[in-house]
Symmetry: none
Subunit: 216 residues, 4 copies
Amino acid sequence: MGAVKTKRMPRAVREQQMLDAAVRIFGQRGYMAASMDEIAELAGVSKPLVYLYLNSKEDLFTACIRREATALTAAVRAGVRQELPADRQLWEGLRAFFAHTAEHPDGWSVLHLQARTHGETFAAEVAAMRAELVTFVTRLVVVAAREAHRDPGLPEREVAGLAEALVGAAESLAAWANATPGVTARQAAATLMNFAWSGLGTLMSGRVWAPPGEET
Amino acid sequence: MGAVKTKRMPRAVREQQMLDAAVRIFGQRGYMAASMDEIAELAGVSKPLVYLYLNSKEDLFTACIRREATALTAAVRAGVRQELPADRQLWEGLRAFFAHTAEHPDGWSVLHLQARTHGETFAAEVAAMRAELVTFVTRLVVVAAREAHRDPGLPEREVAGLAEALVGAAESLAAWANATPGVTARQAAATLMNFAWSGLGTLMSGRVWAPPGEET
Amino acid sequence: MGAVKTKRMPRAVREQQMLDAAVRIFGQRGYMAASMDEIAELAGVSKPLVYLYLNSKEDLFTACIRREATALTAAVRAGVRQELPADRQLWEGLRAFFAHTAEHPDGWSVLHLQARTHGETFAAEVAAMRAELVTFVTRLVVVAAREAHRDPGLPEREVAGLAEALVGAAESLAAWANATPGVTARQAAATLMNFAWSGLGTLMSGRVWAPPGEET
Amino acid sequence: MGAVKTKRMPRAVREQQMLDAAVRIFGQRGYMAASMDEIAELAGVSKPLVYLYLNSKEDLFTACIRREATALTAAVRAGVRQELPADRQLWEGLRAFFAHTAEHPDGWSVLHLQARTHGETFAAEVAAMRAELVTFVTRLVVVAAREAHRDPGLPEREVAGLAEALVGAAESLAAWANATPGVTARQAAATLMNFAWSGLGTLMSGRVWAPPGEET
DNA sequence: GATGAATGAGAGTTCATTCAT
DNA sequence: TATGAATGAACTCTCATTCAT
């Protein structure tokens, strides 16, 4: 286990090795339970070198979050072809999302589980990525309405809420798919697409479920 | 800060105080970062007493999970009136769920975030609760289908996936509602209900969104 | 396990129950590893009562040592009939000694092993018992010589040394016999008697092994 | 008190310092009463370093046992010249044994007292050493018998019992010699040799002391 | 005569972090 | 560029001991 011990590598390479190791350990053990010893060993370097390059456990974790968040948003962006209709774009985005999280389960664990359980600082790092995904979905909903030559029929804030819900559902499903043997990324994407698009479609067609008026 | 230091309480009372403190600390710091010292102090007792009554950090955490899980499922069940139609039951269940988690944020943090990031044992405890909630939702779907004289036609795993999605969406919306001025938890619940019910309704009516056949 | 929980016993009886429990626990676990909790539980009383009657762990251990030491010397004394010849007296003494240590292995463990590994105070308690046994053996050797109408032919100090050796050998053998399955007390006594008496006999007949004169 | 605090020593050296300190503390206080803090301080290092090098208290104790056992058997073996007759070899072995244990009282305490009072694991470590010494003595007896053109005729278990007796006698004598003014360790050794050799000699000549047949 | 409730003090162990080279 | 040597601080857990009834 662990990288082969090769000496005198350029800094950039070494740093990536360390981040690889760190993401794996952090993703599997969590921030607190992860030990710098284990990370250094898995990276095939000595502990002082990790500190030399990445300063502290906190900085190392932050670097992991940033790298994984960037990679994830890039993957989603790369998976979408903007010339297609909105539902296809959403489908492709979801597929790219689930494919990436399935291929990088530790990275996703870092982003979705570990970073949210240890203080505001780390959570804020993830929030930026989240915001980007929400914006992407929101745009799609608006585009879909325009394609149907119709106003979405929903106030702007409701659209934002729906986008939040969708992203949250996707995040949860990704973790579930990774943890449940036999569930492929594609199946998870289909389940969500089905649910989300049907729900959105119904909503946009004007059939809104009305909450009862009583108060409690 | 902390409970008032009252001496010589009967065991049952002290245990609840300890669990209160533990849920708070575990919910905010996470399992690993929480220290028994801090929990004991917040509970207003000495550390040995915590160990005398609750055995170990692990057992204490398990006790927290169990108590909070029981409380949550009880709240949801209590919020639902079975004589109502299925959509109203789901609405009430969601409202009870949102209300309870909003009033017990630390408990919810324990169940949803902390217990899932530290070992199979804890995750299994939560899984039991989740299974109960999923059963509740599933029953509603079946009832709804019966009311519409139709078979729901959803395989078991699909239901589990939808439950994951729903919980993820709910969380997401709750956080968003808290963070966005002018959006109440009730409105967030309505948005989710809208989304979920429309989605489920469409699925049950057989109108399934078809993923394109191409491979990438 | 443990005594049946009977309430309101006279003090003397309760004390013996506590000592019984303490000897067992101390003998098996050692002084440090024994816990007052375990002792109290085995005695069938609450911990405060142990403290009320026996003051402290140290005092409790001392009481154990005293009781067991007294019982052992009494047993040896009771086993010997002074009207018999010296070799028979030694044999009977050894048999009584090995029989008692075999029947009270925990008591013997307390005296021979545990009391010697924790500070001068406890060791001193055992020393008194030891002195008594040494005196007994010494007297026998002198008597044996007188019976043979001969001066032992050994200086007084040599006799004292031999007695020390014999007692040490007996102590060691007793522990060994208790720890070795299949070795009876009688066999151990015979082995030692054989060895000791033959050795002593040879010595008294004047055939002394001469240490070489060289110095190193 | 304690070793002079020298920094940055090679690992092997530090390990020996730690073992030195550990043998001293374990020998004087016993396994349970010894604290890792005290050992570390006496060794002139911090506690974590002790754990880094020796893993745990248990491993540290085992390492002590092994080192001291090896040293003792080596000392005995080194003290014996095989070309001499058996009685001289035994004498030399005893002297080496006495000399070594007198010079390393803490080591001897670890081997003889402390290791036997705490669990099977430690006792087994000592048993190996003891077996080696017993083998040595046994060989001498066999050699002596061959020199006398006779079969020793002692069953294996009898030999083990005699070895126990011998060690117990030796200890006893050593302690007595230390406590009695005017008695040197060498004289004590001679007394023991006398006792042991005469006893063995008599036994081998077939003159066995017969225990009386009565039962009690 | 007897105990449920409670704790100060200290144990073994681990970890993020740094120094000296 | 890279590391073997080293530690302060904190953690979980246990224990002998006492108080209030």
